[in-house]
Symmetry: C2
Subunit: 260 residues, 2 copies
């Protein structure tokens, strides 16, 4: 058996998220079906991140084991032939047996897009949260910076988060302007359930003047989901890339894709 790592792009709008469920359309399910039709094997495909319903990906990574002799290069068009139009395999590479899409990852980078527009914008509506009133981006940026470093993110995770250890290390957390959009870029060694969306929902409370920067500072130490803001809608969120150690167990597993 060989282990292959694939990089995926998808429009999450019409999926119930990454993870296979008893019923409904999932990205994992679509990819496993494409792998099955390509290799004629029933294979589990393991993703780096279990993105939620409606969340997009420009660089999700997943791995699977196969007995197929198809080259990594030929796997890409073969899988894409069987995948629906809203998922695509961008790359495929052989990795060592020790590589695990989720556990080998050293960090994941997400972007949340906030579009500053009163009227709807049909060309971007699937990929942004639209704010008709211009928020205070400076205050939001100041708060975003306060999340840098290692913290217990209990306050910023869904109450349905089941992991015990809620300490994560955020290495990038910034609000930047991009034309008529604000982007929240966040990179961490791991994320709790709904963590980016709760952070964005809370940053927006600050941006809208409903919460002060001082109040924001008190959220992390409170370790209480109740004091943070609402969970922002999933459609503004995209997983941009997953990073793996360079020269790890398999050098080809280095999967570094810079965000644009």
């Amino acid at each position: 058996l060989r282990r292959l790592a694939i990089t995926l792009e998808y429009d999450g709008t019409d999926f119930l998220g990454w993870q296979v469920q008893a019923e409904g359309r999932t990205v994992q399910g679509a990819v496993e079906e494409a792998v099955r039709r390509t290799t004629r094997e029933n294979i589990r495909v393991t993703g780096a991140s279990r993105t939620d319903a409606g969340v997009h990906a420009e660089g999700q990574v997943a791995h699977f084991d196969t007995a197929s002799g198809l080259s990594a290069e030929r796997i890409v068009p073969a899988l894409n032939h069987y995948l629906p139009g809203d998922v695509s395999v961008l790359q495929c590479r052989e990795v060592g047996g020790g590589f695990h899409a989720q556990f080998s990852a050293i960090s994941k980078l997400y972007r949340y897009r906030i579009l500053l527009s009163g009227p709807p914008r049909p060309l971007r509506e699937r990929f942004v949260l639209r704010e008709w009133r211009r928020p205070d981006a400076g205050a939001m940026a100041a708060c975003a910076e306060k999340l840098l470093g290692e913290h217990d993110f209990t306050s910023f995770a869904s109450e349905h988060s089941e992991v015990e250890n809620k300490v994560r290390r955020i290495t990038r957390s910034e609000v930047t302007a991009d034309g008529d959009e604000l982007h929240y870029m966040v990179e961490a060694n791991g994320f709790l359930y709904n963590m980016v969306r709760v952070i964005v929902g809370t940053l927006l409370e600050v941006g809208r003047g409903k919460m002060t920067v001082e109040e924001f500072s008190e959220i992390l130490p409170a370790q209480d989901r109740g004091v943070a803001g609402p969970t922002a809608p999933s459609r503004g969120l995209a997983l941009l890339c997953v990073r793996y150690p360079d020269g790890g167990d398999d050098s080809s597993s280095a999967q570094v894709k810079e965000a644009e």
Copy 2:
């Protein structure tokens, strides 16, 4: 009666184009229906450009006359309330009775997006033509430049073009790189039926090495649609803006929106 000019954004994918037809979903039909529900009047809405099926707009302009007393500012959310998700009114302004969305326009700016990618890219597939082999952008840019100025564009128009005078003046015609995309930007005082798509289809023949720059130079003088390349698919095309004379019959009719 007042005359109002509206600026529209739409995703052309699920429309049969701008113009109302006996059957099927059109942008003009959707806008007229929204105007009817907002003003309770049956009003013809006249667009600057009759965009084809699948062509998008970031700044289409249209005008209509109404007895409604609603302010231009309040017309925007009212119309958007009744419009489907793939069309939106971005702006509305009062214009003089001499303003005509099509005939007052001094130029229109279109962009055609070519995505350089082997695998499908679900997040952009509705808005780009995908080229899996990198075309010769330098040769394409050289050809694009040759179209500048006033010419008879018979060779670059659909044979179904019904206008008699096929002379148009192109003031911008350039191929530029934007990340992993090539953009063809073209501005002219008017366009023949399918003109941008035939130009792009022909530029791509050059980019793919199937036509030389010299051969391209012979197309305009030939005045023969048969010597140009195929018509590129509509989905890569968007009408970015329509320009009107500043300080014309109505100064508020100046509708200059710079492309990003």
